[in-house]
Symmetry: C2
Subunit: 334 residues, 2 copies
């Protein structure tokens, strides 16, 4: 084993190649004003010494990091993997890297995410919001640090992007009404979930828009067990022919709950969920659900930052609609 070498700098390469540091730098950036043979000599020296450009020196000089920070309050949230896929895809496209940080949610504020990021080598940041931060109204992004929030709430100073949960409910409810149902029952979620609450609004308002007074909802907790209980409860309600659950796990649980009480799906009751999360996990016939493109959401967020390269940013709000996936759990009642 050789002793641990100090890191190799342009200076070392320059010395070995017998050129100036500047020529090494130009070679690294493949400048046309270096003679091909000189370039080759420099490259040989780089190979021999194992030269790797130093990120810190470069960033210091350039004043840019080519990196986007991602702050999450909760790493293991639904859709985070797909969003992450989107973050990295967009970052790659622009030659950026992604720096990931978990933010302690006590208190649950944008300020804590922001100050966490401020010490890191990032040019901009993305915050994934699941709940309502205490300082949402008053938060100001750090000067010079473009900030994108992944949320449906519009912020006056930060761009935002998310799936359109309101429209998701509209699609599902109108689809079910279109199939001949007189009303749609709803299995909700814990009240602190922003997206869940927005789905709830969408369900309620779409029904009203069709002149239907929304029936009493059943509050679930995202788990199949709570869906199962809801299904059992709704099985005894003769007015209930269509059920919309705020996620697929509850929808699936609901189906099994209905079946446990002798109801058949979709013959007696139609059931729809949201997320398209059960794809390969459940062997049953395909659930009617809404598919979101979280990867696209992630890409949009990072594009907004990495694609701006010095352009005056400008606040923008983007909602991507989901796609309704017809499954075998809804039949035609007309």
């Amino acid at each position: 084993m050789a002793a641990v070498k100090k890191s190799v700098s342009v200076k070392d390469v320059a010395r070995l190649a017998g050129v100036s540091e500047q020529t090494v730098s130009r070679t690294v950036h493949d400048s046309p004003s270096v003679r091909p043979e000189t370039k080759e000599r420099v490259r040989a020296a780089m190979r021999e010494l194992g030269y790797r450009p130093n990120f810190a020196g470069r960033s210091l000089r350039r004043g840019k990091f080519k990196t986007v920070g991602v702050a999450m309050f909760n790493i293991t949230g639904t859709g985070n993997l797909d969003r992450m896929e989107g973050f990295t895809a967009a970052a790659d496209k622009h030659g950026y890297a992604i720096t990931l940080t978990k933010v302690d949610g006590h208190p649950y504020t944008l300020e804590s995410a922001s100050s966490r990021m401020s010490a890191l080598p990032v040019d901009g940041m993305v915050v994934i919001m699941n709940r309502m931060p205490a300082d949402f109204g008053t938060f100001e992004p750090l000067p010079g640090m473009q900030t994108v929030l992944v949320t449906m709430l519009e912020h006056p100073l930060c761009s935002t992007v998310d799936n359109d949960q309101f429209d998701c409910s509209r699609q599902v409810v109108e689809y079910l009404l279109g199939r001949g149902h007189k009303t749609v029952h709803f299995i909700s979620c814990p009240e602190r979930s922003l997206s869940g609450m927005r789905r709830e609004e969408g369900w309620r308002e779409t029904l009203r828009a069709h002149g239907i007074e929304p029936p009493r909802l059943i509050r679930g907790d995202w788990t199949a067990q709570s869906g199962y209980a809801a299904g059992q409860a709704l099985a005894d309600d003769p007015t209930c022919t269509a059920i919309y659950a705020s996620n697929d796990a509850m929808a699936y649980g609901c189906i099994r709950g209905l079946e446990s009480r002798g109801k058949r799906v979709p013959e007696d009751v139609s059931v729809a969920g949201v997320d398209d999360s059960l794809g390969d996990i459940v062997p049953d016939r395909r659930l009617t659900t809404v598919r979101f493109d979280n990867k696209r959401v992630g890409m949009w967020a990072v594009d907004k930052i990495a694609g701006a390269e010095g352009v005056e940013p400008g606040v923008e709000h983007m909602l991507f609609p989901g796609v309704l996936v017809e499954g075998d759990t809804v039949r035609d009642w007309r």
Copy 2:
């Protein structure tokens, strides 16, 4: 809007506070050799100017980034969220950040992950391996860049860490044999999956260790549908009283497949899976499965790098055993 300010440096703070740059630096690091009242004055200046220490300058000076890079060939893989939770948790503990990169899997080599990372501001790197890289045997980590592989294969030059998939199978098979079964059938997975193949070995060798010749396995593809088909096929085999599937989705599908052929679980056949991934998704009685602590795996990997702080690293290999979770899908046959 004010014009975009140039970033604020220690120099600006020093001028405003009427002290030297060094005193500002010392204040930032809360050195005891600065008078409290001076500190307060400096801090006031920092607040007024909105000073944030510059990461590049700091790293350049220190020669360290306090950052660990994570390279993934496939972001949306099972367990990645939990691993990521572990990465960030360990990084936090040491005051490190995580930089995430997707590596193109063509070709699928450690070299491509390594060279991707070499240009980023990281002190060490973690590679998540799902398949066998073409250059596994010949790969050498970059000098000065400690590299940890998340895999069960031991590497001569890199530390490795993963769940113990062999032991996982041992636990399941011995549990089932202990419940009185004469043999255990196995639903496998695609052959390129390293962890899946190791589970297969574990199943086979554990049976042999008990003097049992392993029955013919059924190759699945991770999906519940393939498990369903396997269940149907095995339903007609009278010797089959215990089935071990290489993941929970296939196990669940298998149960439904058996049921579709009139077999009852666990009365007629016992079924076990791996992953503990169906927790809240399926309302049925609890599947017998093995739970892995991917967060711990992630923490170990980052600890190995961030916890070493200049210590001569040393190659180490770590396997964490899973925990068998008894469910209602196995009955006692004794």
